[in-house]
């Protein structure tokens, strides 16, 4: 069985690198793709059909909130984890209503990332 694909979407390369490090450090075998804004995320999701997407909300060009339903439209089997410093309860509710499977507030702990990956890909 092929290793699952994960898509990391954040305009901050530092955050993408951090996520990559956390995910690889738990020994989870996967292929990791990246996108730096909502528009690129939709294109990569269409092409790669990732099992899991880590999606920032506050990005240039197209925000994560706009990209979220479109990612799920082009890649219906993807599970989207929103990662954002905008951890307002109202926004979590909105993101969840739009199809997000989980919400992780920044700054995040490596254990949160590991636990979420294991839970959603189990």
């Amino acid at each position: 069985m092929a290793a699952p694909t994960l898509l990391l979407v954040d305009d901050d390369k530092f955050v993408r690198d951090l996520l990559r490090d956390h995910i690889t450090s738990i020994g989870f075998e996967c292929r990791i793709c990246e996108a730096h804004d909502g528009t690129e995320a939709i294109e990569v999701a269409r092409a790669e059909q990732p099992r899991l997407v880590f999606l920032d909300l506050f990005m240039p060009n197209k925000s994560g909130l706009e990209a979220l339903p479109q990612i799920l439209k082009v890649s219906p089997s993807s599970k989207v984890v929103v990662i954002s410093s905008m951890d307002s309860e109202a926004l979590v509710v909105q993101a969840t209503a739009d199809g997000a499977a989980a919400f992780i507030a920044k700054p995040f702990h490596p254990d949160e990332i590991a636990a979420t990956v294991k839970r959603l890909l189990a």
């Binding site: 305009d11 909502g38 909300l57 506050f58 990005m59 240039p60 060009n61 197209k62 925000s63 909130l65 706009e66 410093s85 905008m86 951890d87 307002s88 309860e89 109202a90 926004l91 909105q94």
Partner: protein, 322 residues
């Protein structure tokens, strides 16, 4: 129909679409700042100042951010205070006496009474004010218990011959009373039986109502609860114009009440324990260092008037004996 907005910061990052409720939540909690442009459809963008409802949201939030920062500072201050003895918190020498502690406590705690906050202050700041108020009150109660435990009981106050019954101060409302000479001596059974050596119960803590004491009741009445000790009983005598002999009392406090305001005053005496209720009207107010209000009694029972006078007399003797 719910309006949606897109916000863009100076780096070109976009958040949206979000409704006003989400935005209000994000802005009030400081989650989003430095927004430069706003859109109502994700296509046409306007400077923040041109979208009035969002602009106002950020302006209000700026004030709240300052208040949240102040709340954080106060909580940090409490944590800092926890590591210090009461005398250090109140800025006193380690062996300062009880009254010095009380005065320092009052000076410090005045700053943190929630009534000092504007009505629209952030709830978190209001809560922080209460936290530090109660922390200081608990610290004072502890200091008081410690000091009293180390003190030897003082001799009982001297009891004199009974005083001739004085007349009521002001009856009915508005009647001008002649100044009268305070009776000599004259204390009742309360004083004879009163415990001595301490001016108040050490086990009882200070509460906002006990200290500042001004409350607006549900029915709109203003009620002032005042704790009276031998130390602060000068409120009845020290003011030249508003004093007990002229049918009133001067209450040192930072709050202001309009002249003519009707106030119900409840004096809580610790030694001897007694509660005296009076009604009065604000006839004097002053700011600055001597900030306070003068209340002229409009209703005070004869027995309570007698008690107040006896208390003042006993106080002057007690102070002379020190």
């Amino acid at each position: 129909m719910t309006s949606n907005y897109w916000l863009q910061d100076a780096q070109g990052r976009v958040l949206g679409p979000v409704g006003m409720a989400v935005l209000r939540d994000l802005v009030s909690n400081g989650r989003i700042k430095d927004v430069s442009r706003v859109s109502r459809d994700g296509r046409d963008w306007y400077p923040l100042a041109q979208v009035r409802e969002i602009h106002e949201l950020f302006q209000t939030s700026s004030k709240h951010q300052d208040e949240l920062a102040e709340a954080r500072r106060l909580r940090q201050l409490i944590e800092d205070y926890r590591t210090r003895p009461p005398s250090e918190i109140f800025g006193l020498e380690l062996n300062a006496d009880l009254e010095t502690h009380r005065q320092a406590f009052f000076r410090l705690v005045k700053q943190y009474h929630p009534d000092r906050l504007p009505a629209d202050a952030h709830a978190d700041l209001r809560h922080a004010y209460l936290e530090i108020f109660h922390f200081l009150a608990a610290t004072m109660a502890k200091a008081e218990a410690d000091i009293l435990r180390m003190q030897k009981p003082a001799p009982p106050p001297r009891v004199s011959e009974p005083t001739p019954k004085p007349k009521p101060i002001v009856q009915p409302v508005g009647q001008v009373l002649p100044a009268k000479k305070p009776p000599v001596g004259g204390v009742g059974a309360d004083f004879v039986n009163a415990p001595t050596g301490t001016f108040k119960s050490a086990s009882k803590g200070y509460k906002p109502e006990e200290f500042v004491g001004l409350q607006r009741r549900e029915d709109g009445r203003i009620e002032a609860n005042i704790r009276v000790t031998l130390e602060n009983a000068g409120m009845f005598t020290d003011h030249k114009l508003v004093n007990l002999s002229k049918g009133g009392v001067f209450l040192a406090m930072s709050q202001r009440l309009a002249l003519g305001t009707n106030v119900e005053v409840i004096f809580h005496f610790d030694n001897p324990q007694r509660e005296v209720k009076a009604r009065g009207k604000v006839i004097w107010e002053s700011g600055g260092k001597e900030s306070g209000i003068g209340i002229k009694f409009t209703m005070l029972t004869e027995a309570d008037q007698q008690f107040l006078q006896s208390y003042v007399d006993m106080r002057s003797r007690a102070l002379e004996e020190r």
